[in-house]
């Protein structure tokens, strides 16, 4: 997926759970090299919007267009073009960090050894053969970030990326996002000012 160009256009997205409207009329456009922060109070639907953009949840109304290298993709999203790290996307506790990476890499048709420099970058190299149930919450968050960027997706969705990270982890994350910025479209859902500052644009959910 390296060097792929992506454009995402959201038109009047809305989401309702039972009788509760979570958000409506959300529209934005995002292309490679651009980034947006999704902000809003708790329960405003930031994570739900991330799930919808990632193609793992359907909107109640509106539509999403994915254009990958000039070609329109299915509305469920081009699976291999998207990377997501979210509190709701949990890797397997019984597997080690490396086994989780091996699984994700095989599923995405990527060589698992490409993850080795990522373990180094995110300071997780010593722990890659430990079962996840022995990971701290910060280590889990680092692994989620590795799993999200493993296949070099042109669209990266990060939901509360700084949560559970110590100051070193946050610095590594900011540096890594900076290195991806030129060839990736980035969506960050957050209420953290530091995380939001990593993005050029914003979508605010009331």
């Amino acid at each position: 997926m390296r060097n792929s160009e992506i454009t995402i256009r959201a038109h009047s997205l809305s989401k309702r759970f039972d009788r509760t409207m979570i958000f409506e009329g959300v529209s934005f456009s995002l292309g490679t090299g651009e980034s947006i922060a999704v902000t809003g109070p708790n329960g405003s639907g930031k994570s739900t919007l991330c799930d919808i953009v990632a193609g793992i949840r359907r909107p109640t109304g509106g539509s999403l267009e994915y254009i990958l290298n000039g070609t329109a993709q299915s509305e469920d999203g081009p699976l291999n073009a998207i990377g997501i790290a979210s509190p709701r996307v949990n890797p397997y506790d019984e597997l080690t960090g490396m086994e989780n990476v091996d699984f994700a890499a095989r599923a995405r048709g990527v060589d698992p050894s490409t993850a080795l420099p990522l373990f180094e970058s995110f300071g997780l190299n010593r722990h890659r053969d430990k079962a996840l149930r022995h990971y701290s919450s910060g280590m889990r968050q680092r692994l989620k970030l590795i799993l999200a960027v493993l296949h070099r997706p042109p669209l990266l969705i990060l939901d509360e990326p700084g949560s559970n990270l110590d100051s070193d982890g946050k610095r590594q994350l900011a540096g890594y996002i900076e290195s991806l910025r030129a060839h990736t479209a980035i969506v960050i859902a957050t209420n953290d000012r530091e995380d939001a500052m990593l993005c050029a644009g914003a979508v605010s959910l009331a």
């Binding site: 793992i56 949840r57 699976l79 949990n90 019984e94 095989r106 599923a107």
Partner: protein, 218 residues
């Protein structure tokens, strides 16, 4: 796609090997039930029809928990979304189906000799018995895999799964009992086996096409 299926299958076997949930529960249930039926029968040799019926009842209820677990585990432990973002729906369905087929075949391989020993069953045609058992297991696995995916999204998953599965599994179970009785008596099982294979083929094809709609959350 093949890599994604292999990756999913390897992951499911690794997790099962480390936890041994599905197989441990199923095999314990099977052993206890077989022993209980054997004690109740009190050494009396039962009619072929009764032997076949009890065999499939034990196999069906032993397998139910393990077969449902393959999807309910993903929802309960919050790993379902990770699976959704990494693997195409078709690869997930195929891997889960293959895993369930392996689980029910292992259960059948353990139950069959136990059952024959404790209930004093003499099978006139062992190859026909094996064919009927394999075809019946395939039919149960193919019908329960997609139902497990649906039930995984509901509450009271375990109990709901057996209740929902029963009407779907009843026709192949009925035919499997008939074929097993025929194998025990030394008669032909071809008709029953063909029905079970056709039933499995139809269900797998329909499930494969519908799985994407079940898998993405509304």
């Amino acid at each position: 796609m093949l890599d994604a299926i292999a990756g999913n299958l390897l992951k499911d076997f690794r997790i099962e090997f480390r936890r041994r949930f599905a197989l441990n529960i199923a095999l314990s249930f099977a052993a206890i039930t077989t022993l209980a039926v054997s004690l109740t029968a009190g050494g009396v040799r039962l009619a072929a029809q009764t032997q076949a019926m009890l065999f499939w009842i034990i196999l069906f209820f032993s397998a139910m928990n393990g077969l449902a677990h393959v999807f309910t585990r993903e929802e309960e432990e919050g790993t379902a979304l990770f699976l959704r973002v990494t693997s195409p729906a078709a690869a997930v369905y195929t891997a889960k189906l293959l895993f369930n087929i392996a689980v029910i075949f292992i259960i059948a391989a353990v139950i069959s000799p136990l059952y024959a020993f404790f209930l004093n069953v003499e099978v006139a045609s062992p190859s026909a018995f094996a064919a009927a058992t394999c075809a019946g297991c395939l039919a149960i696995a193919s019908s329960t895999t997609v139902l497990a995916a649906i039930v995984a999204k509901a509450g009271s998953r375990g109990s709901l799964f057996t209740i929902i599965s029963f009407p779907v599994v009843l026709p192949p179970l009925w035919i499997a009992i008939g074929a097993t009785r025929a194998a025990i008596a030394g008669n032909t099982v071809a008709e029953g086996v063909v029905f079970l294979l056709a039933f499995s083929g139809a269900l797998i094809a329909v499930s494969y096409m519908l799985f994407g709609h079940i898998w993405i959350e509304e």
